[in-house]
C-alpha cells in the first residue's frame, strides 16, 4: 500500500482537521470526534446534517456552509459513523426550526442514523430524515436493501440546503429533498480499485483489460465485469441504464460527471463531451453541468454519471447561492 498518510489510525481525524484548517472561518470541528459544523451556527433555519464513512471527500464535510449543510459526521473509512457522534452533531446544530438528516441508503448508515434520531426525539428535538437511493445499477425491491445512495446525494445537499437557507419549514425542506431523490439517478463504473488504509490492500482486483460496471462508492462490485471499452462506449452504457429508469425526454436536467478519485479531469471532460452530444440526440435538455470529484471512493479510478430532472422549483434552488469549501455558486 502506497499512500500519503501518517498512520492508518490517524487517517480520518487528520483529514477532518486538515479540511477545517482549509476553511477556518467557515468550519469548526467538534471536540467529541470527527464531526464538522459551520463555524457560526445559523439560527432560525432548518439544520441539515449529513454524513457517512470517510473516503468520499469532498463529501460530506466539504459541502458545509451557506446554502448547503450545517453539519457532517465522518465515520471510519467506508464505515458509517456511530449514533453517539451523529447525535453530537445533531445537538450542535439543532434549531427551533428542526433538523433534517440526509442519509445514503446503506444498511449501516440507516441504522446508525435511526438510532441517533431516536435519541434526538427522546431529547425532544424536532427532527426528520430522508434516505437517498439514486444508484440505478442496483435492482430496486421492497424485499432487499434497495438502491445505494451515491453521487446524487450532493444534489440533495445543494437543493435542500438552498430551501433551508430560504427559511422553509422542516416539512418543506424534507419535501424538496424527497423531490430531488425521486428525480435523480446515477450509475458508476471503475477501471481500478481502491485500498482502505486499515485493510492495506485493494478491495477487489481488476485485470488490466477489464472494468467493473455499476460499481458502488465503496468498491462494492457492480452489475457485471466487461472488457474495457472506449470512454464513449462506457458513458453510453451508463446513460442508457439511467435514461431507461425514468423519462428524461424533453425534460431539463442537471448533469453531474463525477470522478471516483483517481480519474483525471482530462478523462472526465472526454466523457462529458460524449454525454452532452448523446443527451442532445436523445432529446434531453441540459440546464447545467458539473464536472469534477464530488463523491469519491478514495483512489478508485472511474466515474459516475448523474442526471437530475428539474422543475421550476428545483431549478431556482439549484441556482441559489452556496458558499462551501467544495461547491460555490
Amino acid at each position: 500500500m502506497k499512500k500519503l498518510i501518517n498512520s492508518v489510525e490517524t487517517v480520518e481525524e487528520q483529514m477532518i482537521l486538515g479540511l477545517v484548517k482549509s476553511a477556518p472561518k467557515k468550519l469548526r470541528k467538534l471536540e467529541c470526534g470527527n464531526v464538522v459544523v459551520r463555524a457560526e451556527k445559523k439560527e432560525n433555519k432548518v439544520a441539515l446534517v449529513s454524513g457517512g464513512g470517510s473516503g468520499h471527500e469532498p463529501s460530506h464535510g466539504g459541502f458545509i456552509g451557506k446554502g448547503m449543510l450545517d453539519c457532517a459526521v465522518a465515520g471510519a473509512v467506508f464505515t458509517s459513523p456511530t449514533p453517539d457522534k451523529i447525535f453530537e452533531g445533531i445537538q450542535a446544530v439543532a434549531t427551533e426550526a428542526g433538523v433534517l438528516c440526509i442519509v445514503k441508503n446503506y444498511t449501516g448508515d440507516v441504522m446508525n442514523f435511526e438510532m441517533a434520531i431516536d435519541n434526538a426525539v427522546d431529547n425532544e428535538l424536532k427532527i426528520d430524515y430522508v434516505v437517498v437511493n439514486d444508484d440505478v445499477a442496483v435492482k430496486d425491491s421492497l424485499y432487499t436493501t434497495g438502491r445505494r445512495g451515491v453521487a446524487g446525494t450532493v444534489l440533495v445537499h445543494k437543493i435542500a440546503g438552498a430551501k433551508a437557507e430560504e427559511g422553509a419549514s422542516l416539512a418543506e425542506v424534507k419535501a424538496v429533498a424527497e423531490k430531488v431523490i425521486a428525480n435523480v439517478r446515477t450509475m458508476g463504473m471503475a477501471i481500478s480499485p481502491c485500498t482502505v488504509p486499515a485493510a492495506g490492500k485493494p478491495g477487489f482486483e481488476l485485470p488490466e483489460d477489464e472494468m467493473e460496471i455499476g460499481i458502488g462508492i465503496h468498491g462494492e462490485p457492480g452489475t457485471h465485469r466487461a472488457k474495457i471499452a472506449s470512454a464513449d462506449e462506457v458513458a453510453k452504457t451508463l446513460l442508457d441504464k439511467i435514461l431507461a429508469d425514468i423519462d428524461y425526454k424533453n425534460q431539463e436536467v442537471v448533469v453531474l460527471v463525477n470522478g471516483m478519485g483517481a480519474t483525471p479531469l482530462m478523462e472526465l471532460y472526454i466523457i462529458n463531451n460524449f454525454v452532452q452530444d448523446y443527451l442532445a440526440a436523445a432529446g434531453v435538455k441540459v440546464y447545467d453541468t458539473m464536472v469534477g470529484n464530488y463523491m469519491t471512493s478514495i483512489e478508485m479510478a472511474g466515474f459516475s454519471l448523474t442526471l437530475l430532472r428539474l422543475d421550476d422549483e428545483l431549478k431556482k434552488l439549484y441556482d441559489a447561492p452556496a458558499d462551501t469549501p467544495a461547491l460555490k455558486r
Binding site: G53, G75, A76, V77, F78, T79, S80, P81, T82, P83, D84, K85, Y106, T107, G108, M111, N112, M115, A137, V138, K139, S141, Y143, T144, T145, R148, V196, A198, A199, G203, F204, G216, H218, G219, E220, P221, G222
Partner: protein, 210 residues
C-alpha cells in the same frame, strides 16, 4: 448456572477471538461486501476489553449493557448497531442478575436474536448473521427444553450455527451490502454469520474450561 465472572471471561475471550480472526473476517467481507467487518469488530471489541475492568463487580445485565454501549459507539457500519442491539436486549432480560440459569441464558439469547431481527429488519435466509443466530437459538432452546445441560445444549447451538454459516454459501444476499451482488453472492459465506459463529464457539470453549 453461569455467573457474572464467567460472562466477563466469555466476553474477554470473544474479544481475543475477534482480534485473532480479524483478517479472515475482513477477507470474507472483501469478497461480497466492503471489506471492513473484521477491522470494525476488532476495533469495537478492543474497546470492550478496555472497558471490562470497570464492569468487574456489576450484574450481568449491566455487563451486557456496557458491552452494547462500547460496540455501538466504536464499531460503526451495520455490525455496530446489530451486535450493540443484541447485547442491549440481552442486558434488559438479565437486569440485576448475578447469575443465569440455563433457562435465563436461553431467554437472553432469544432477546438478542430478536433484537438483531428488529434492528436489521431481516429474517433468516437473507445471508446475514441471523442465519447463524436463529438456528443456534433454536438448537440451544430445544436442548434445554429436553433436559440437556447448558454445555451440551450450547454445543448443539454451535453445530447449528456452523451449519447456518455453510448454508449462507448457497443463498443470495437480500440484505446488507452483499445484496448488491445478487446472484454473484452465491458461493461466499457471510462474514456476519461467521463472526456470530465465532462468538458462540468462544462461549462454549470458556464454559468447557472448568
Amino acid at each position: 448456572m453461569i455467573d457474572a465472572k464467567k460472562i466477563l471471561e466469555i466476553i474477554s475471550a470473544i474479544a481475543k477471538k475477534i482480534e485473532a480472526e480479524k483478517n479472515f473476517l475482513t477477507q470474507l467481507d472483501n469478497e461480497i461486501g466492503d471489506g471492513d467487518h473484521g477491522i470494525n469488530l476488532a476495533r469495537g471489541f478492543k474497546s470492550v476489553e478496555e472497558k471490562l475492568p470497570s464492569l468487574a463487580d456489576k450484574d450481568i445485565g449491566a455487563i451486557f449493557k456496557g458491552v452494547s454501549m462500547q460496540l455501538v459507539s466504536t464499531v460503526g457500519g451495520a455490525s455496530g448497531p446489530l451486535y450493540g442491539t443484541a447485547f442491549m436486549k440481552a442486558g434488559n432480560v438479565c437486569k440485576g442478575k448475578m447469575e443465569l440459569t440455563a433457562e435465563e441464558f436461553v431467554a437472553a439469547i432469544e432477546a438478542a436474536v430478536n433484537g438483531v431481527k428488529m434492528r436489521g429488519k431481516a429474517v433468516e435466509g437473507e445471508k446475514t448473521m441471523l442465519d447463524a443466530l436463529c438456528p443456534a437459538y433454536k438448537a440451544i432452546k430445544a436442548g434445554i427444553d429436553c433436559g440437556k445441560n447448558l454445555i451440551d445444549a450450547l454445543n448443539d447451538g454451535v453445530d447449528a450455527a456452523a451449519a447456518g454459516v455453510e448454508y449462507t454459501k448457497t443463498i443470495i444476499a437480500t440484505k446488507g451490502r452483499a445484496s448488491y451482488l445478487g446472484e454473484r453472492s452465491i458461493g461466499h459465506q457471510d462474514p456476519g454469520a461467521t463472526s456470530s459463529l465465532f462468538m458462540l464457539q468462544t462461549a462454549l470453549e470458556v464454559l468447557r474450561r472448568e
